[in-house]
Amino acid sequence: MGMGNGKPPIVEIAHLSKSYRRGSQTIPVLEDITFDIADGEFLALMGPSGSGKSTLLNLIAGIDKADQGTIRVGGVDITSLSDKELAAWRSANVGFIFQFYNLMPVLTAFENVELPLLLTGLSRNERREHVDLALQLVGLSDRVDHYPAQLSGGQQQRVAIARAVVSDPAILVADEPTGDLDRVSAGEILQLMDRLVHEFDKTIIMVTHDPRAAEKARIIRHLEKGILTDSDGQPASPVAGS
């Protein structure tokens, strides 16, 4: 298992460990994880609650700090970056999709998608082009001026996906993207993510409980008590593609 698609790895994780403190106790979440993710991969991370899959996703996305080990993304060791460098790196390289969409309720669909572009040097017109393109991609060109509260869950998640891809990052991370959606909407969202991988060469790392969502992924990795296993429940081989 853990077969790549033949392309070089975009994410290289080595000996990654992370634990949380609760009071005087230290609770290990991830223990010595080592694996690679190839460029253009669609990977599903599965596992029971508390298995550490969301933590792993956060670490890869650069919104949480590891205790030990390294994460190289596109050749950059993000564990060595400062908070400020990390923020700049995220805005250029990672797009986020959340279970509860996390749209700004006071901003319209257009403005929500525009948000990440404000951190780039793009002009107003250039931003408009990008946003229009992204909304067109997710099929919401007719909902530009709607506020999140005026959209259905599926539509909100599509706005969130537009926001994730608008700055053209190489990697998309998705935390239970279908967790709050009905079956039909969930299907549409997965379809859309599939298109992003195939037509736009994005790498998607998705944490999910949903077996149907996992089915769409090309590779499924399991986490159990902080240890990566292959789908048979055996410890995975440390190097992808071996």
């Binding site: 933590t55 956060n58 996305a61 919104i63 949480d64 400020k84 923020a87 700049a88 995220r90 805005s91 250029a92 986020f96 959340f98 279970q99 509860f100 996390n102 700004m104 309720p105 006071v106 901003l107 403005e111 525009e114 948000l115 990440p116 404000l118 951190l119 926001r163």
Partner: protein, 385 residues
């Protein structure tokens, strides 16, 4: 621009809560402005007084008088340009509630010393000619609807009896701060009546007003005047009109200090209320702030959004409060004319109002801003999951 849009939309997201907070801040700013104006009024007399006028009175205290014979000796002091004199009359119109200042003065010299009491030449002439004549300020005349030729009766408290005066002139103040609620009449009228009824108290004046040629001479002249009468039966105390007024104000300082403290307390109260609102708001939005951070926004941006929201709400309240200050002061001027015939809100007060509102916004925003700026992304996101 975009952040500003976000701030403003955030500020009015919870319409009820924002409205309540804005109203709260507005009330506090209104109270602050009115209290400040009240304190300002206390010092009103000080502002209206001139640096070239000196007041000479009995050194023991105000209730003791000085002999009229002091006048000629004061006039001989170098630097003295003019001397006038008079008595605080303390008469009561109708009853104690209708209080206004009234003096017996030597008319010609007094009006010469007070060019800010503007009177037409005809009215001035008529006042000088009529020994029982009096003049009043415009505001006072308006309050009681007095017209030239009206008879005004005062009941004496210091000088017993019913005293009748004929209104001969209505003066206007040349400056905004000029007292327009006073009545002045001939000192001779008072003195001649006293000669008949209580000769012991005749030929006594309550105060001398001295005009000096140059303000720089004030101290010198004061010393010279007091020096003449040192160790006499009626020692004098001479000071500038300003110092004299300040002395009065200082005696009631305790109350002014209390009002000043209260005006700050009201700001502190609203600061607490606003801080509470902002803390609640920020707590509810932690996930949003975390999302923004995820997208690559730095702590500066988040801080700006939270802090900006706090400022927008506080300043909205401040502006509303300032806007309400004007009708409120007008209401006080009309409804509480007995206490506050004029209740002018100064520009300084308005600036202070806005500064206070900005401070409320700043203080209320500090803690939530810090929370929003320092929240760990993973922590912030977990709150909604």
């Amino acid at each position: 621009m975009f952040l500003l849009k976000l701030i403003i939309r955030n500020a009015f997201r919870h319409k009820l809560r924002s409205a309540l907070t804005v109203v709260g801040v507005a009330i506090a700013i209104l109270a602050f402005g009115l209290l400040r104006t009240l304190v300002g009024l206390w010092y009103h007399g000080v502002e209206a007084s001139s640096a070239t006028r000196l007041v000479t009175r009995n050194a023991i205290s105000l209730v003791f008088s000085l002999p009229l014979s002091h006048k000629d000796r004061i006039r001989q002091v170098p630097g003295v340009q003019a001397v006038s004199y008079g008595n605080w009359f303390g008469g009561i119109y109708i009853d104690e509630k209708h209080f206004f200042a009234n003096y017996a003065v030597e008319p010609k010299s007094y009006l010469d010393l007070y060019p800010e009491f503007v009177l037409s030449p005809e009215q001035k002439g008529a006042f000088f000619l009529d020994r029982k004549g009096c003049i009043v300020g415009k505001r006072l005349a308006d309050t009681y609807g007095w017209k030239i030729g009206d008879l005004i009766t005062l009941r004496g408290t210091i000088f017993p009896g019913q005293w009748e005066f004929v209104l001969r002139g209505i003066y206007r103040g040349a400056e905004k701060s000029t007292e327009e609620r006073a009545l002045m009449f001939h000192w001779d009228y008072l003195n001649e009546t006293l000669k008949k009824t209580m000769p012991r108290r005749a030929d006594q004046v309550g105060f001398y007003m001295i005009g000096v040629t140059k303000p720089e001479l004030a101290a010198e002249v004061s010393q010279a005047v007091d020096g003449i009468f040192r160790n006499s039966l009626a020692e004098t105390l001479t000071e500038t009109e300003k110092a004299f007024q300040l002395g009065f104000v200082a005696m009631t300082e305790a109350i002014m200090i209390a009002i000043k403290i209260v005006s700050y307390v009201v700001i502190v109260i609203i600061m607490v209320v606003a801080a509470n609102t902002m803390a609640m708001t920020a707590r509810e939005r932690i996930a949003e702030y975390a999302t923004m951070k995820t997208l690559g926004f730095g702590w500066v941006h988040i801080a700006g959004v939270v802090f900006g929201e706090s400022l927008v709400i506080a300043l909205s309240g401040g502006l509303l409060g300032v806007a309400l200050t004007f009708p409120a002061s007008h209401w006080i001027e009309t409804e509480l004319a007995q206490f506050f015939p004029a209740f002018p809100v100064s520009m300084t007060t308005i600036y202070l109002d806005l500064a206070a509102a900005a401070m409320v916004g700043t203080v209320a925003g500090i803690f939530p801003t810090w929370r929003g700026a320092t929240i760990g992304i993973a922590d912030g996101l977990r709150r909604i999951g």
